[in-house]
């Protein structure tokens, strides 16, 4: 299922503006949105999900404007894991995942056996089965992230949008989440679009990257074309090292140059 952005512009009241973004996201894509803080990555995700309406241009899903779908229709095609997360209510993990079946059921119906089967399957896929009967409020951040991915999968979407799925996770859990997303992308053909801060992880796991800076799409393409010293220095500043990891052969980004605070009067 194709997702397409055609000359999309959007501005906030505070003056920040996303300027004429065009992107093609064909079925089965694995696209990372990268860029410095305030570059417009999350805004772009929210435009794709229909949460924000573009001022100019179009966001199309199956050649239809995203805004023309009913919430139910859209939820059957697209799952979104936003940065907004509430765990105040002690729902069991299984119940949280069952919410992903909402767009596939009628309001007055209880869960059908087909729904139960999907829930069992996504529990297995995300390895969330061991804590299926615990309240979500009692889980660690890594476990919660898996539950949210499981709930998104229960929607049986063609496209998944994720806003910083690696936030608050340690490096081990980050790796697990990225591997899981890659697997879902490869085995089920689900398009994945995600906002990422970690450039090295972005280069390692995404098949395509789109780099934004101050509301403008600087470049997009293979990680090897986007994460180059020239581009990264232009956007993030000169004190960043970009090199090819000799083991993975992927571009790697690290703090470089002068790491001590400059003392001003230094010779």
């Amino acid at each position: 299922m194709d997702l397409q952005l055609d000359n999309v512009s959007f501005s906030y009241r505070d003056g920040f503006r996303l300027e004429k973004i065009s992107l093609e996201i064909p079925s089965g894509s694995f696209l990372g949105l990268i860029g410095p803080n305030g570059s417009g990555k999350s805004t772009l995700i929210r435009l794709m999900s229909g949460e924000l309406k573009p001022e100019e241009g179009k966001v199309l899903l199956e050649n239809r404007p995203v805004g023309s779908f009913s919430p139910m229709e859209l939820a059957r095609r697209m799952a979104v894991i936003s940065a907004e997360q509430y765990f105040d209510f002690p729902f069991l993990v299984r119940d949280v995942i069952a919410m992903g079946r909402f767009p596939h059921s009628r309001r007055t119906q209880r869960l059908q056996s087909g729904d139960e089967a999907v829930i069992e399957e996504v529990l297995r896929l995300t390895e969330a089965a061991p804590f299926a009967d615990r309240p979500i409020s009692h889980l660690s951040s890594g476990e919660r992230q898996r539950v949210l991915i499981a709930r998104a999968l229960a929607q049986e979407p063609a496209v998944m949008l994720l806003d910083e799925p690696d936030a608050h996770l340690d490096i081990h859990h980050q790796l697990n989440v990225f591997r899981l997303l890659r697997r879902l992308n490869a085995e089920r053909g689900i398009s994945v679009v995600l906002v990422l801060h970690d450039l090295t992880a972005a280069a390692a796991f995404c098949r395509r990257l789109a780099l934004l800076d101050r509301g403008v799409l600087i470049t997009h393409g293979d990680p090897g074309e986007v994460i180059t010293p020239e581009v990264i220095h232009r956007v993030y500043g000169p004190d960043i090292m970009v090199y090819l990891n000799p083991v993975t052969d992927k571009p790697t980004v690290a703090l470089g140059g002068q790491t001590e605070p400059s003392t001003g009067g230094n010779q």
Binding site: R13, S49, E51, S70, P71, M72, L74, A75, R76, M78, A79, V80, S82, E84, Q85, Y86, F87, D88, F89, P90, F91, L92, D95, V96, M99, G100, F102, P103, R107, T108, S137, R151, Q155
Partner: protein, 343 residues
């Protein structure tokens, strides 16, 4: 702090006992919910019987029991059920267990509507309910408008807006009171919350409105479950958030207006009951809404029995009693939130 701790421990024990009873029989989920609701129904029946026969022995003639106490029990049943269910719905939609018809200003607004209808001699049941519901809805819209930022209404500003709106309508109530009712002890009693209303038509209309509100909220219980995950998330899961929120607020406000029309402002039932029952039956609204309705009914009938017997033959307004219990409970919830990061 000690009080908070021992309250915590007591509730944890209570929850454990309930879970033990359930798990001993290896009930599947559905049976478990059914068991909880059955227990609550028994509790309600026992409370009602207790309320009917509680009082000085010489007074316990058939006339007193069936003509004075029975209507009060029925009033307690529907007002308690309505307030607790409305509280459950407000808490779910606002994702804040401190939300309560009282806190959001809905009760004050409905009372202002009732007072105005009476003060201006509009007369008739229709105008009384119309004013109560119109003011309750007006207060929710006001709370919403005040709280809205960039098309969204964040929870914190909404609670704050509720406090402001309730202060405003309280002031309106007291303006009407001082101009039109200053001689009337009954009106003061009504404002503090009481189940002494004797008009069967009033009781009948309120019962129908509360039953209707309950049905709408129960019908939307799955949407309400999903709304607790956040409004953006709910929208992405297929809930038509703005529409569902409007329907839930209207249904809940309708229950509050109906309760206030017969019983005045009885606070904190909608705060205490849903919170306790959420710990026992869990957060799924398909079970929680009927459980809160049954629990709220039992709670208010019991509170009213205490209110009329504790310093008999003098009677204490039941609203004052629930506030005496409710305010410390509110503090307990705040402290608990502060320490555990959750409710």
């Amino acid at each position: 702090m000690d009080a908070v701790d021992s309250m915590d421990r007591f509730l944890v024990h209570l929850v454990h006992v309930v879970h033990l009873v359930h798990s001993a029989k290896e009930h599947p989920m559905k049976t478990r919910s059914a068991t909880s609701l059955a227990i609550l129904l028994l509790l309600l029946a026992a409370t009602a019987v207790f309320a009917l026969f509680m009082g000085p022995v010489s007074d316990a003639s058939a006339v007193i029991i069936w003509q004075i106490r029975l209507p009060r029990v029925l009033m307690g049943l529907m007002v308690g059920a309505g307030l607790a269910a409305a509280g459950t719905v407000y808490q779910g939609v606002l994702r804040n267990p401190l939300a309560d018809p009282f806190m959001l200003g809905t009760s004050s607004a409905a009372a202002a509507g009732v007072m105005m209808a009476g003060a201006l001699h509009f007369g008739g049941y229709a105008s009384l309910y119309f004013m109560a519901l119109a003011f309750a809805l007006l207060s929710i819209v006001l709370v919403y408008r005040i709280a809205q930022i960039e098309g969204k209404a964040p929870i914190q500003t909404m609670i704050l807006a509720g406090v402001i709106v309730s202060l405003f309508f309280n002031a309106a109530v007291f303006v009407f009171f001082s101009i039109f009712y200053r001689e009337s002890f009954n009106t003061l009693f009504y404002l503090l919350g009481t189940l002494t209303e004797a008009d069967p038509v009033l009781i009948g209309i309120s019962s129908v409105l509360i039953a209707g509100g309950l049905a709408v909220c129960w019908y939307l219980s799955r949407d309400l479950d999903i709304l607790t995950q956040g409004e953006q998330t709910a929208q992405h899961l297929g809930v038509d958030v703005e529409r569902v929120k409007k329907m839930l607020f209207t249904a809940a406000s309708c229950m509050v207006a109906a309760a206030v029309a017969v019983a005045g402002m009885i606070g904190f039932v909608g705060l205490i009951v849903p919170h306790m029952l959420r710990m026992i039956v869990g957060p799924n609204h398909r079970v929680l809404i009927p459980a809160a309705a049954l629990g709220g009914a039992a709670f208010l009938i019991l509170a009213d029995t205490i209110a009329r017997t504790v310093v008999a033959p003098i009677e204490v307004p039941v609203g004052a009693l629930t506030a005496l219990v409710g305010s410390p409970y509110f503090v307990y919830l705040l402290r608990r939130r502060h320490r555990h990061g959750q409710f």
